[in-house]
Amino acid sequence: MTLPARPFALFISDLHLQVSHPRTVDAFLRFLAERAVHTERLYLLGDIFEYWAGDDDIADPFHQTIITAIRAVADTGVAVFWIAGNRDFLVGPGFADAAHLTLLQEPQVIEAGQRRIALVHGDAQCTLDTNYMAFRAQVRDPAWQAQFLGMPLAQRKGIIAGLREGSREAHTGKSYETMDVTSEAVTDVFASLDADVIIHGHTHRPAVHAHGDKLRYVLPDWELDDAPPRGGWIELYPDGTITPVGLARPAEAAAPPTRPTAA
């Protein structure tokens, strides 16, 4: 019997953690304490934070809560990995050292059973969104980042707040198709990495898609402070079995926040 089985890896993304969403934060902390310790690897696939202004913000008490919880998982022996999202791509070595995790560039490939599984956040595959792709090319440029991180933290936070507002407005003008991955970009990931499976987030459209005989799993975003409640992760077993898990179980049901809600 190959049961009991323990996942080889867990994948999670798009928590958009922020002080103003305490129930979502609590759900993530419960996931880390109750689920993430029972695997060999934990992959954080982007947009874990709603925004990240730079590693000099690590001392912020909210960030310390998250860092401490991730570090606790890593310190039980779980290998924790981080792939940047479009919101938290400025996470750097300072954060990685504090959280005891490893920063990875995308794309990454992980193997289990007979399967090669490609891991990306998903924003780089939304190639119809030409405005975003241009923005991404700019902000992922190391020279741009060095220049940005040279500004005072308060100034960076102000710029980011403005960018988030602009993003919210821009969303209303974009078509449903524009804000999803394109089949060309997906095909390119499968082909260039010789992958059988892709796991990604970013689009907040959880699903399993077939592309010929290949599969693409999309992670959900997490939201437990606003309706509708949503969240989940993906489990990969040593024999290559992939199981998406939704936040439907009693242990993960939204509980009252353990700290006062932000006004």
Binding site: M1, T2, L3, P4, R6, E34, R35, H38, G77, P238, D239, R249, P250
Partner: protein
């Protein structure tokens, strides 16, 4: 409290079985013990810092027949804590027969309701020989035919007996 002695080629393990909390599981297990089923079986599946599993195969991975199955008693409040004994099974919740495992970590995700609404039934705990369990946790393993996580040097259960 029923006490059993597991004699292996790599040390002995004593365990107390909880017939009060897991009556059917303990009765089923003792039945296999008394029939000598566990003699010359192996711990065939060892995953470090998860669990060690055995009682189903002879050395050489020849499966022993196990005619009797037992109802899933995982809802008994006992936790899959480190050094507890629990029944292995297939995805059928009531398919446990003779194969058992010893948790080598606190595996709360195996407790009722678990991943599948049923969980894994805990029926005892190691009282002596935790160091033997720790050593078995660290044995070198490899793929063996269709099976993975097989100890390279067979861990043989010479016998299990009721003390």
């Amino acid at each position: 409290m029923t006490t059993i002695l597991i004699t292996t080629n790599q040390g002995n393990i004593t365990a107390e079985l909880d017939a009060e909390k897991a009556p059917k599981t303990v009765a089923n297990f003792i039945d296999y013990v008394n029939k000598g089923h566990f003699s010359n079986t192996i711990f065939h599946r060892v995953i470090k810092d998860f669990m060690i599993q055995g009682g189903g195969f002879e050395p050489g991975m020849k499966q022993k027949p196990t005619p009797a199955t037992v109802e899933n008693e995982a809802k008994n409040g006992l936790k899959n804590d480190k050094y507890t004994l629990a029944m292995a099974r297939t995805s059928d919740p009531h398919s446990a027969s003779a194969q058992f495992f010893i948790n080598t970590k606190n595996n709360a995700f195996l407790d009722y309701p678990g991943q599948d609404g049923w969980g894994y039934a805990v029926f005892g705990k190691v009282t002596e020989g935790q160091d033997v369990v720790d050593a078995l946790n660290n044995v070198k393993t490899a793929r063996g035919g269709m099976h993975s996580d097989v100890p390279v040097d067979p861990v043989i259960i010479e016998k299990i007996e009721v003390l």
